[in-house]
Symmetry: C2
């Protein structure tokens, strides 16, 4: 192993920060690093935390980190949510709302730029999760806002997906419609001291019986993250789901999808951007048909390799 990989495997936080930058940039050095550390992945539990804006996801993440640290577990946090204070912490330095764990060496926090405004986890999130997994983290928490593509991607990445909802936002049934029912391993009803928590729990129950999911239904847990209420129980629900389902990274069918994406990204990155622009202009001007353009672009791949 390279010295950097060795230091990361040993839990050195500065080495990890350096490695995370290499990986996020999708550099060759970052890829080599993950390849070197590959054998060490598969130890951490990857927990996805998703839900609509305003559901209190960051407060809940902060709370979970605290509880895990009390159990002397090492934690990694990846914030994909652009509204997350963790993200702002990473971007704005000390101007953060929630600094509880920024000084703790047992916690590594990293934010990831999102691909665009309309969803998607952002490039490098999978790789960053794998790196944190290899870096002797017991638990990796990935916070992402539930909109569009993210929720599907987070469910493919995490071992356990927690969907956070709050009562009275009128988004109970709406959120479920949007596909959250299909991805939740555990539901957390946050701000459960507000009116409507029981009603929301009933709505989720009813949807579950409609979809007829049967035995392995996701747990529903009422929490008040701001006061730490219900968080120990939520962690137990998460652990039970993990126990039942095992590690996603160990599932071949998950890797089929990931490898397809990685091949597509790698191939597209190997074609110069100006080739795409040039052919797009030709096609738009009708000087070339789209399939001829694709063939030309593909021949370019062959030359590169």
């Amino acid at each position: 192993m390279s010295p950097l990989a060795e230091r990361i495997a040993a839990g050195d936080m500065r080495a990890l920060a350096r490695g995370a930058t290499l990986v996020e940039n999708r550099s060759a050095a970052g890829q080599a690093l993950i390849a070197e550390l590959w054998e060490r992945t598969g130890r951490a539990m990857l927990i996805g935390i998703t839900g609509p804006p305003g559901a209190g996801k960051s407060t809940l993440v902060n709370c979970l980190v605290g509880r895990l640290r009390e159990e002397h577990k090492t934690v990694g946090v990846i914030a994909v949510d652009p509204s997350s204070p963790f993200t702002h912490g990473a971007i704005l330095g000390d101007r953060i709302r929630m600094p509880d764990h920024h000084a703790d060496a047992g916690v590594f926090i990293r934010s990831v730029a999102t691909r665009g405004r309309v969803g998607g986890l952002g490039p490098g999130t999978l790789e960053l999760a794998l790196l944190l997994d290899a870096a002797a983290r017991d638990v990796v928490l990935i916070e992402t806002v539930g909109a569009g593509q993210d929720e599907i991607e987070i469910a493919r990445l995490a071992d356990v997906t927690v969907v956070v909802l709050v009562p009275g936002m009128g988004d109970g049934v709406q959120a479920i419609k949007a596909g959250m029912m299909e991805i939740a391993d555990v539901f957390a009803i946050n701000k459960a001291d507000l009116p409507g928590a029981d009603q929301l729990e009933n709505e989720i129950h009813n949807m579950q019986s409609l979809t007829g999911a049967g035995g392995g239904l996701p747990a529903i847990r009422q929490v008040v993250a701001a006061e730490g209420r219900g968080v120990t129980e939520l962690l137990a629900d998460i652990a039970a789901s993990f126990e039942k389902q095992g590690r996603r990274n160990r599932r071949a069918e998950v890797w089929v999808t990931r490898l397809r994406e990685m091949v597509a990204v790698s191939v597209l990155n190997s074609i110069p951007e100006e080739e795409f622009s040039r052919h797009a202009e030709q096609v738009a001007a009708k000087a070339e048909d789209p399939y001829a353009a694709v063939a030309m672009l593909k021949s370019h791949i062959t030359h590169v390799h």
Copy 2:
């Protein structure tokens, strides 16, 4: 031109049906057909109709088709919405709720299978739209349910995107949150005889002023599709938007995205599925790291070409 391409260009409906099947299957013959007809594309106006389930999109499409036929325009309809009666018409033969235009030679209706349950226009939708464009259709209507990826994809495909909403579904602001605000060229408030139509119109207005879009704001039109009310005015709004923005197929930046997708699909299809399964198993079992797997899969591409 091949005899099939010639017949399609001349507006022969049976030839078009045969061509559509070739194109939908993404066969080499389908690609050759579009390449042959490429020069003839860019005449039709592509209109996307999207919105939540229950908004009455199919009724509105049916209505628009009727109005366009009165103007002696040829029409193509692509139904990507799995709940659309057009889709059921195509699947179930004569067991359709809405047969108004199935016997009219000026209307070509085709449904497209969706990629999976969680959104996306389905493979071949772009190609099918291009074929209908080349087949002497004046207008092509693409009906898709607004959920997840579809709405982004429809906006990339259509020249004009109509977002259909209905009052009292509580999804005014919700739908806008979900990204519809960004893709709408025209808003249609359907079932405008129900209470709450004006309130919904105000909500959309307020969102527009918040986003500060300025001059080129999308028109908002109240319609009652079931009675044909407001549909002529809606068509005028669509025409005005088209006038202002021009054809998407003529825009090079749209083709950059499309060509990237087409290259990715073409490359991934050239790698045998069992190679992905085999490497995915290796990676999941930690016998191989993901980047080594990607390199192996990519070397397979080179061999194929």
